[in-house]
């Protein structure tokens, strides 16, 4: 590899508002927020929490997906600077540079700012919505604002502003819309297909040229930190003060972002964000629609990846229980070697996954549903949106001729890893599809799990809710008339 080192690019290139940036001094831990505030003195973007939970630092990041330029809301506090190579970063200063943006005008007209500190982030989140859906309904507005906290207004005037933005301007006049082709061309011109290696001090960041380059690189440097969306790794940096260099950034690899149907399964590239995976996933599994929209907020769904949610092995990750229930398999790759595991087998113990040094999650395969399958996915949390679950559950039960022939029940928050409820499953299979069967199976749960008490929920509540979800499943299926 070192033979071609001279071909590596030694700077990242991206657009910041109107200006092209070429930055050579970039450490693995550098965040976009600090770059904006400290190195460019763009102080409109605020730090509220440095963990991607309050949205005060929301900016737009435009990237080429296929040939299209898409703008997504992003938490600048945990978005690592190196990952912006080839992107267009839009801050609040840019949005109002040529007269107030319709979203900004609506916010002023509706008295939607009080202290104003969350406001730039709210404006950017609503600008992202505006680009996709200029005349949104209430549900779309609430979804767009899931990742933004406001402590003053009670949101009511913000909701009114969002609803009326269309009265304050035309999407066609938005420079981000009108200038789309120009920006896309500028971004395309930044791409040179080379590996990028940058550093600040002794902290290195590497952006492989493609997936094969990544595989080779990681096999050679297995101690490196792999960074996809940084919705988890970003917190290691901002909260844990962890040094993550050398870090291999993979968010730009188109080859890892594919979501496609193949061989009776939906194959989701490990680098596909939650938002990218959603359309195909929800089309195949409609019960995941609401569930998926409760993963983080739009910023987290735009950044975070399904692969990362799995690879980091959180006991309370939102995707594993639902995907395990669906019989998902994980494709692991090291160099050119691949192996496939049932997803539940990947999680060995708290903080421990079945992943060899230099091996990475390449994709996920979710088999399409068999006839007679009944599915559900549940998340119970203190706050409905943008919260970490107390209990998450995925149910998949196959009923043939009134008898349950197969059952996969997986839970998060009930053990050190996402885990199937083996005894409860056993109590279902071969029994008639009836409420009593489900209640009996729920009674087995204390033999499957010994949950912990913490600030999210007590052990007693976790168990109680997990059991009650069996009844919820029955009621929903009965209501659906199936």
């Amino acid at each position: 590899m070192e033979t071609c080192a001279t071909d590596h690019r030694r700077e990242i290139r991206f657009l910041l508002n109107d200006d092209e940036q070429r930055v050579a001094e970039v450490g693995a831990e550098d965040t976009l927020l600090d770059f904006l505030r400290l190195r460019r003195r763009l102080t409109g973007t605020k730090e509220g929490c440095a963990e991607g939970d309050c949205g005060a630092c929301t900016v737009l990041v435009g990237r080429l997906a296929g040939g299209d330029l898409v703008y997504e809301p992003v938490n600048a506090c945990i978005r690592l600077l190196a990952s912006l190579d080839g992107c267009h970063v839009v801050t609040v200063e840019h949005l109002g540079a040529h007269g107030l943006h319709p979203v900004q005008r609506a916010m002023v007209a509706h008295h939607a700012s009080q202290c104003g500190f969350c406001t730039p982030g709210i404006v950017m989140a609503l600008a992202a919505l505006w680009l996709e859906t200029p005349a949104p309904d209430d549900a779309q507005i609430e979804t767009a604002l899931q990742g933004n906290l406001c402590r003053c207004t009670g949101y009511a005037p913000i909701l009114r502003a969002a609803k009326s933005a269309r009265d304050f301007g035309d999407p066609g006049d938005d420079p981000l819309v009108a200038g789309r082709a120009g920006v896309a061309a500028r971004l395309a011109a930044l791409r040179d297909g080379r590996r990028v290696e940058v550093a600040r001090g002794d902290s290195r960041a590497i952006l492989p040229a493609d997936v094969d380059d990544f595989a080779a690189l990681f096999a050679a440097e297995p101690q490196a930190t792999v960074v996809a969306g940084a919705t988890d790794v970003g917190l290691w940096v901002t909260k844990g003060l962890k040094r993550i260099g050398p870090a291999i950034f993979i968010g730009h690899l188109d080859g890892l972002r594919r979501v496609e149907l193949a061989g009776g399964a939906l194959e989701i590239g490990a680098g596909a964000s939650y938002a990218e995976a959603a359309p195909a996933l929800v089309a195949a599994f409609p019960h995941l629609g609401d569930y998926w929209n409760r993963i983080g907020g739009p910023q987290v769904r735009a950044m975070g990846t399904v692969g990362g949610n799995i690879a980091n092995g959180s006991p309370i990750g939102d995707t594993p229980p639902a995907l395990i229930a669906l019989g998902a398999e994980v494709v692991l790759r090291r160099g050119d070697a691949r192996r496939v595991l049932p997803l539940e087998a990947f999680f060995l113990d708290y903080g421990k996954q079945d992943r060899a040094p230099g091996e990475f999650v390449e994709s996920l395969r979710v088999p399409l549903a068999a006839p007679g399958a009944r599915h559900a996915a549940y998340k119970v949390s203190k706050r409905r949106d943008e919260d970490i679950s107390a209990v998450a559950a995925g149910f998949a039960v196959t009923v043939e001729g009134g008898t349950i022939t197969a059952a996969r029940l997986a839970f998060g928050g009930m053990a050190g890893v996402p885990k199937r409820a083996a005894r409860a499953e056993a109590a279902l299979v071969g029994r008639p599809w009836a409420e009593a069967t489900l209640i009996a199976a729920a009674g087995e749960l204390p033999r499957d799990f010994t949950p912990l008490s913490d600030w999210r929920a007590s052990a007693a509540y976790r168990m109680r809710v997990a059991q009650n979800l069996f009844r919820r499943f029955w009621l929903e299926q009965a209501e659906a008339g199936v």
Partner: protein, 767 residues
């Protein structure tokens, strides 16, 4: 003739609205840093209680980028920042660590990142001592009160209780609350000549910061300037809690003669600064079969943390509001401000009032469930009214409008029909249960520390006719500057664009009170008006003299002054006055009349007036998980004659949602070691946009007018709407009660997290 732009009693956008939405509003962290600026960070204790045996900061000091460290031994003046002068709150402790997360040293470095990393390298040796983290533990361990308790008593409680046909005794636990202002604590100190230092900070109380910096540095207050342009939210969390950061920044700035900025990260901000007091209320209420209360005996025990801070006045205010809108013929209320090994709790919107009021509403609920009646009937039966208008602190309720507010809201919210529908829905069984509740608010306005009820303002009229407005209040988002500017525009009858709003600074208006207790507009609006009147009087005298007319014939009309038959543009008159050597600057002053308070006797007139409101909330509760949704909320709130209805509406909506968060999803959770584990928005859940009621109808009582001569007959609005959210807790409670056919008051503690709701459901079902 048209009126002026920005008149009082009209909607007007917040003066910084355009700057807010474009990111051009500068907060303390956005001020350009002079060359050589250093950054500080605090090191926190990792035990809840213990004797400090050793503090080895050599590795911290040797870390890359570090300029130096500061500990208790480096304090030049007094090692105390207790706001009430109780001497129990060191900047850094010298011998004993009193809570997990207590700041014990500071590190100063070339960058914030370097300071943060270095702070983790300290070697702290602490000999652990037994710790009391919760109220129960503190009571069991016989911990003292941090400040003298209060007793309010009226009538003969014991016989009245004994004679009451019915009696209920109970206990309610009410959780605390983190302020979760979006902008955290921050201080930025710039050294000056001699002993001087200037501190930019996000504080609600510049004068107190000035005093604390002076006493910790050992310099006179005149050497210290404190500036605040705006805060990114305060809510009481920046009334006293900024002192620590300011004194450390100032100490470091003087020590190294370089500007020093300190900004904790969110975790440190939440761990090391105080919160709303959580309380346990033990109550006994005696009442008749008609639901009328005969006697109340209650004790409010508050987790105060390791020091007094503002716990005295906070727990006092809890008692002042343990009656809410209800007359207690015989009453005894006691506070127990108990010490604990936790962060020292502090001011938070409502300042203890909400905790007292929740208890009052719980007693009403107890009576209603015991009698099988609609709680609203019990409320009505106990409202203050003529002949039954004496509060437990012996102040008469003379401006009562709660009856009219509740009647109007009951009609506009269609309460009766909706309650019937809720009962119907629940009668059908089912997993989703509904609840509805209509609760009132009566909130006392004035600082109970009487001397705080004063304010100053400074107004300059420049010779070009532009006006510079300064007052002692601070802007934290509430729109105070906008409202005061409207008052000034109205006084001079000039367009508001003429008035420049400037940062709050101790250099212009001295000895200010905290912007707190909802008092900002009441006090500073009046002080500004006083300054305007002084300048106007001089202009009138000049105009009359120069034109040879009587002073009565000089009148301020929109953007001009009518002098006899002549109309002179405002700026022309000002310029003429300047040329004639008229003094065009004035310092205004105001003190609230009528108020007095004898704490030892528990008697007086602590409140100038009361603000009222009422809210009706309907919820749906999932009895399988305890999750819920607020379906509809109707509010009718009293702001007197509003100075700015748009801004006041914003306070009502925002206050309500913040109160709803307190009573629903915002849960503070300490582990067995006394560590706060909910210390960031990832673990501490304030409401989101999707938690806003599906239908949210908020109205101001446009007929209301303050009986007292407040600024333009308006009423304070900062805190009173917060407590409207008690209606949500009670609606959830009703939904829970439905599973046992309303036979029992569910006694749902707050916050009513889904877990508490489900556990209450199971308890009533006997599961």
């Amino acid at each position: 003739m048209t009126g002026i732009k920005g008149a009082v009693h009209r909607d007007l956008a917040h003066d910084s609205a355009v700057k807010h939405v474009t990111g051009r509003a500068d907060y303390t962290d956005d001020i350009p840093e002079p060359a050589g600026t250093l950054h500080g960070y605090l090191g926190l204790a990792q035990v809840a209680h213990g004797r400090l045996r050793g503090l080895d900061l050599s590795e911290v000091a040797a870390a890359p980028g570090v300029v130096g460290v500061l500990g208790a031994g480096d304090i030049p003046g007094l090692n105390d920042i207790s706001p009430a002068g109780t001497g129990d709150e060191p900047v850094f402790p010298e011998t004993v660590v009193e809570f997990h997360g207590q700041p014990i040293f500071a590190v100063i470095a070339e960058s914030r990142d370097a300071a943060r990393r270095a702070a983790t390298l300290a070697r702290v040796e602490v000999e652990p001592l037994p710790a009391a983290v919760s109220i129960e533990q503190a009571l069991a361990a016989g911990y003292p009160d941090v400040t003298p308790p209060l007793k309010l008593e009226r009538g003969d409680v014991a016989p009245a209780m004994a004679a009451a046909p019915r009696r209920i005794a109970g206990r309610m636990a009410v959780g605390g609350q983190d302020h979760m202002y979006l902008e955290g604590q921050i201080a930025f100190a710039i050294p000056g000549e001699d002993d001087e230092v200037t501190v930019h900070a996000s504080t609600q109380h510049p004068t107190e910061v000035q005093q604390m910096v002076a006493q910790v540095l050992g310099v006179p207050a005149s050497a210290v300037v404190v500036n605040v342009r705006r805060m990114g939210g305060g809510f009481g969390g920046k009334e006293t809690q900024m002192n620590l950061f300011c004194v450390v920044a100032a100490m470091a700035a003087k020590r190294w003669n370089r500007p020093v900025k300190i900004r904790p990260d969110r975790d440190q901000d939440m761990i090391a600064t105080g919160k709303r007091h959580d309380v346990v209320v033990d109550y006994e209420v005696g009442f008749g079969d008609d639901g009328v209360i005969h006697a109340v005996d209650a004790t409010v025990t508050a987790r105060c943390g390791f020091s007094a801070d503002l716990s005295g006045p906070v727990t006092d205010r809890a008692l002042f509001h343990a009656d809410n809108a209800y007359f207690y013929p015989a009453v005894r209320l006691r506070s127990r401000p108990i010490k604990t090994n936790t962060v020292s709790n502090t001011a938070f919107r409502g300042f203890g009032g909400p905790q007292g009021m929740v208890a009052a509403e719980r007693m009403i609920e107890e009576i209603a469930y015991a009698l099988g009646r609609d709680p609203l009937e019990i409320r009505r039966a106990n409202f203050y009214r003529e002949g039954r208008d004496l509060t437990p602190y012996h102040q008469r309720v003379e401006d009562n409008i709660v009856g009219r507010l509740v009647d109007e809201l009951e009609a506009s919210a269609d309460y009766a029909a909706r309650r019937a529908a809720v009962l119907d829905h629940n009668a059908r069984g089912g997993v989703i249960r509904k609840g509805i509740a209509l609760t009132p608010v009566k909130f006392g306005i004035s600082f109970t520390a009487t001397w705080y009820n004063q304010a100053g303002a400074l107004i300059h009229v420049y010779k070009d006719g532009s006006i510079h407005l300064n007052h002692g209040g601070t802007e934290m988002g509430q729109g105070l500057n906008t409202k005061v500017a409207q008052v000034v525009a109205d006084a001079f009858q000039v367009d508001i664009g003429r008035i420049r709003i400037t940062k709050t600074t101790t250099e212009k208006v001295p000895n200010t009170s905290a912007t707190a207790a909802s008092s900002g507009s009441d006090l500073n609006g009046m002080a500004a008006l006083d300054a305007c009147e002084q300048i106007k009087a001089r202009l009138v005298a000049f105009a009359a003299e120069s034109r040879g007319v009587a002073p009565e014939d000089v009148r301020f009309a929109p953007n001009e002054v009518r002098i006899g038959g002549e109309a002179v543009p405002f700026d022309r008159l000002v310029h003429e006055a300047y040329m004639a050597r008229v003094h065009l600057s004035a310092a205004g002053f105001y003190k609230t009349p009528k108020i007095h308070w004898d704490r030892a006797a528990g008697r007086g007139h602590p409140f100038y007036y009361f603000a009222y409101g009422a809210a009706c909330s309907e919820v749906s509760v999932d009895t399988l998980t305890g999750e819920y949704r607020v379906d509809r909320v109707d509010i009718l709130h009293d702001v007197g004659r509003s100075l700015n209805p748009a801004l006041d509406l914003g306070q009502v909506e925002g206050g309500f949602i913040q109160g709803m968060g307190w009573l629903t999803t915002e849960e503070l959770w300490w582990d067995d070691e006394g560590r706060l584990r909910t210390h960031a928005p990832s673990t501490y859940k304030i409401p989101l946009a999707s938690d806003v009621p599906r239908v949210f109808n908020v109205a101001l009582a446009d007929w209301s007018e303050n009986r007292e001569r407040t600024i333009k007959r308006s009423k304070a609005v900062g805190e009173s709407p917060f407590m409207l959210a008690i209606s949500v807790l009670e609606a959830i409670s009703m939904a829970v009660a439905s599973v046992a056919d309303y036979r029992e008051c569910p006694r749902l503690d707050a916050p009513a997290t889904p877990e508490r709701v489900l556990m209450a459901v199971d308890r009533l079902r006997g599961v």
